[in-house]
Each structure stands twice: as structure tokens, then as C-alpha cells.
Symmetry: C2
């Protein structure tokens, strides 16, 4: 994504706040989090919050602290998800449990989660408004953790009869909730009407769902050099992606059996992984997922129709397009 | 501890709230937390909060929700600490990562932590007061997580030159912070003066430190039937307890080398564990720790002098005595 240039200084402020918060703390407990955060990532959530704030005519500066809390939460979930999913790479480098061991990686996630609540509580605004805003954060955080828990339960129980609806509910938590929160908080802090806040949340949720579907697609068809995570990692982790759900519904009994075997044995053998990916391609599951993501982005963009034209609205529309065109 | 009978109905309400919150949620993500909570535990933190509220003349009912949040947090830390410490038993039963695997145990801890924040935010009180109270919770939570992180960093870095002061700082976070919070919140909700709130916090912190020292003592000299955790587990985990710190400062060079070897190899061999415990006993380290705990309890009790006599004050004094006399 070509970063909208007017967003850059605000995003730099978000990064400075995040690093500043961590730098104040005991290096033995928080030290590993600074380089982890500095690995970057796309920063889509704070960008969404900043642009959403601007798009309703708000002062983008006001959303910097609330946006940094969201990005810190996102990073917390990456650390714990990488442990839970036994992932080896994150943003092109070894995951934190690989470099520091599970105990310290786990605790550093808890430390980050605690720190971001402390930060959220301390945001300067009228207390009644702050408490209402906290509830939005808590609801979104809960959906994220619940979505992850749901996915883990499917893997644990060996469930392969997950429906498309169930898949969408799961990623609705895992990914959409936090992007929806980013846009809603942007509109709320920016002084948008209730109607605008709702439209922005809808935009963020749809874009988030599309983002996750595209992420799943890249995981099986992307290039490591760009994607910076293990290609086929989702197969090894036995994940029920939209492509897997679609493929299981369309494959022959024999293919279905093989796919389930590969997914449930958590194979890391490239031969197995390539075989699984071949089934997804053969049955048009990758294309199907791409089409769903593209249609979700169209739906998201239509929700912005009521907003006056602005560089922030243009930024949001270009983020939406980027979501389904990205290669990393 | 003989539970003070006037506390029982309030504690039952705390348990009902905790279980009710979990029962409302998706069983696939929260289901395992209900039996985990039902294993019991001593419930010292909510008991402290209830008695502290009563001791300043407050309505004990008002502290039930705030106390349940503290006990939920305590249970969250147990789940994650057990993963980090590779502990196998908790309250006489296998730890959650043994029964459900690390991924689900880890996520269920995150789910619990998120749920308790949601609960804390929703407590009915004037928003300005609620935000001030949230800050007390966040500070205590942070000390707990930081204390655990500090201990993990010592183990990771192979540090055996931990001083008594550093040890006290570490458990000051890990254990004292939450007991201090329990008492302070009790006094705050009970309408105690600022001076009473401060005295109650001091009481809780000292009692908490004594509690952790006694816990370390029981870990090497208790009986599994009563203690319900692995005897010598702290030795296998390589923990720097007050006894270990004391012993390393008093043992011969040869004994010191052996003790460090046993601790740093994380041996589970009963022969090694018994050898390590023998050094602690030989150098009076167990007695030394016991004396420190007893003196902390004396200090804690003296902080209650300013409070009028009541059944709640009596309960607090008896909890303090129980801390150092308990066998589980």
C-alpha cells in the first residue's frame, strides 16, 4: 500500500507513543517488546483509526493515543497466537517464543496487555465518555480472544464440518472486530454522528473480514519474500480457512480424506502441504475466497457513500482496495 | 483457616458471580474455566476484600463485584503461571495445560483476563470514581505480571546472585500487590478514610509477602496431601526463593555449586530435590524464612490498631495468623 502521505506524521506519533510506553518499563520484562514492535507490520488498524477520525471532520491528533492502544492490543494477540499456533516466523523474523522461549514470550504478552489497559484508562477525557469508550474496547478485545478460542477448539476437537457461516463468525472475532473498533473509535473521537460511527464500524468489519480471507489466500499462494510468514503454515496448523471449508464441500471423498489427514496430522512436509494446496486450487477454492474478499471490499466501500469527499475518505477507499490486492 | 462465619454468605455471592459470568459465555472457549474455578483455592483475596470493607464500617455487599474481579484475575495468573513454570498440579489436580494443551490453556487465560476487565468496567458507580478505581486495579495487575516476568528473567539469565531485596521486590509484585489491592478496594468501597485505605493496603501487602514466603516454605517442607502442589516443585523450576537466597549466602563453596547445579538443570529427580532441600534445612534457611514471615504478619497486624474492634477486624487478624500457620 502506498501510505497516504497526510497520515504519516500521525502514524509516527502512534509509533512514538507505543515505543515510549515500553521504554519507560523494566527492560527485563518489556525489553523484547520494543524490537518486536519495531519489526513494523502494516499498521492498518491505527491508519484506519486516523483516517476515520479525519473522514468525519475530526482532529486526527485526538485519536493517536486511542489508536496506539489498539495497535498494542494487536501486537499482544500476535505474540500469544504465535505460541498457540506454534508459528515460527512473524514479520520475517523468528517468533518471540523461538527467540525467548514460551514462558517469557507468554509473560511479555500479558505485560503488554496489562500496559495497554493502563494506557486506555489514563486517556484524558470526561470519565463517563471514557468508560463508554472502554466498553467498546473490551467488547472488541473479547471478540478477538473468543474467535481465536473458537478456532483452537475446532482444531482440538478435530472438527472438519465447520460451515462457511461458522468460519465467518470466527474471523469476525479474530480480525474484523479490531478493524471495526479502529474505524468506530476514529469516528467517535472525531466527533462523527452516531450514524457515521455505525457506518465506519461496518466499513472496518467488512474490510477486516476481507483482510483475513486475503491473508488465508496469501498463506497458501503467496511468496515468503513478500509475505514474511511460512507459506502453507495454515495447512500445518490445520486451520479451517474459507478455502478449506469450500474445498471440503466440493472435493471427492478420497481427496477429502487426504486433505483432512494432512490438516489433522499437522504435517510440515512440503510434499503434503503442496498436495493440500493443489486440492484447494483444483476445486476453485482459492478463487472462491478471493471473490468473497473482493465482494466484501465492495460492500465496505459502499458504506462510505454518505461521507463528504476528503483525503481521509480517499485513504479509506484506497486501504480497502489494497486489502485484496496486497501480496504481504 | 476456620472461615469467619459472617463472611461465608458474601463469599458465596462472589463465587456465584464468577461462575455466572463464565456460564453465560461460549462453552468451547470458557467451559474449562468453570471446573477450574470450582477447584476452590483459599479465596483469600475476596475474603480480605469483604472483611476490609466491613472493618471500616462499610456494606460488605458493595464489595462483592469488585472482589470477584480480583479473584478472577488471580485465577487468570494461575493458569498462565502454570504454563510458564511448567507446573503439573494445581489445587490437587492436573494443571489446565496438562488437561487441555498449552494453546487452549493459554487462550482461556486471555479470555478470563478480558472478561474480568469487561466486568470491572461495568461495575455500577459514578464514572470518575470507577476510573480512579480501575487505575488501582491496573497498577496492581501490572505489578503481578512484572513480578512474574522478573522471576522468569532470573531463571532465563541463570542469575544466582539475587539479593534478599530483589527477592522481596519480585514477590512484592507477584503476591503482595493483589492482596494489598483486595484490602484497599475493600476499604475504598466501604467508605473508609484515605488513612484507613492506606493502612488496609499496607496490611494486605505485608500479609501477601508473608503468604508467599510461607508458600515457598510449604513447597519444600509441606505434604502433598495438604499442599496439593508438587513438593519441591520450586526446586525443579529453579526458583530463587528467600530460602535459596539465604542458603546461597551461607553454604560452603561446594554446597553452593551443587545447589546451583540442581536448580539450573531443572531436575525432577527426587534424589536431587531432597539434596537441595537438605542444604536449605542445614543452613537454617527454612527457619529464617519462617521468621521473616512471622515478623511480617506482626507488622501487618499492628497496622490495624487504629480500627475499632469488630468481627471483621477479628477476621483480618485471624487471616494474618493463618497465613503463617497454614499447611496448605
Amino acid at each position: 500500500m502506498e501510505m497516504p502521505s497526510h497520515i504519516i506524521p500521525y502514524l509516527q506519533d502512534v509509533e512514538a507513543i507505543m515505543e515510549g510506553e515500553l521504554a519507560k518499563e523494566d527492560g527485563r520484562v518489556y525489553g523484547m517488546l520494543i524490537p518486536f514492535l519495531k519489526r513494523g507490520g502494516k499498521r492498518i488498524r491505527p491508519i484506519l483509526a486516523i483516517a476515520s477520525c479525519g473522514a468525519v471532520g475530526g482532529d486526527r491528533k485526538a485519536v493517536i493515543e486511542p489508536a496506539s492502544v489498539i495497535e498494542l492490543f494487536h501486537n499482544f494477540t500476535l505474540i500469544h497466537d504465535d505460541i498457540e499456533d506454534d508459528s515460527r516466523f512473524r514479520r520475517g523474523e523468528p517468533t518471540l517464543q523461538i527467540t525467548h522461549g514460551i514462558p517469557i514470550a507468554l509473560n511479555s504478552g500479558d505485560a503488554l496487555y496489562t500496559l495497554l489497559w493502563k494506557k486506555l484508562i489514563s486517556i484524558k477525557m470526561p470519565p463517563a465518555r471514557l468508560v463508554r469508550m472502554q466498553a467498546l474496547y473490551a467488547d472488541a478485545f473479547k471478540r478477538v480472544v473468543d474467535g481465536q478460542g473458537l478456532e483452537l477448539s475446532w482444531i482440538k476437537e478435530g472438527r472438519f464440518d465447520v460451515s462457511e457461516e461458522e468460519y465467518l463468525q470466527m474471523i469476525g472475532g479474530k480480525t474484523s472486530a479490531l478493524m471495526g473498533l479502529s474505524c468506530e473509535i476514529g469516528a467517535l473521537i472525531g466527533g462523527g454522528t452516531r450514524r457515521e460511527q455505525k457506518a465506519m464500524r461496518g466499513f472496518g468489519e467488512s474490510v477486516g473480514t476481507a483482510f483475513q480471507i486475503q491473508d488465508d489466500v496469501l498463506n497458501v499462494s503467496g511468496q515468503f519474500e513478500k509475505y514474511k510468514k511460512e507459506i502453507g503454515g495454515d495447512i500445518s496448523e490445520g486451520k479451517r480457512t474459507l478455502m478449506v471449508v469450500h474445498c471440503l464441500a466440493h472435493a471427492s471423498a478420497q481427496e477429502k480424506e487426504r486433505l483432512i489427514t494432512i490438516l489433522s496430522t499437522h504435517s510440515r512436509d512440503p510434499k503434503d502441504i503442496n498436495e493440500a494446496i493443489a486440492y484447494l486450487k483444483k476445486h476453485g477454492s482459492v478463487e472462491y475466497a478471493r471473490d468473497r474478499a473482493i465482494s466484501l471490499v465492495g460492500k465496505a466501500k459502499s458504506l462510505l457513500k454518505g461521507l463528504p469527499d476528503s483525503e481521509d475518505k480517499a485513504a479509506l477507499l484506497s486501504i480497502a482496495d489494497y486489502i485484496v490486492n496486497r501480496e504481504k
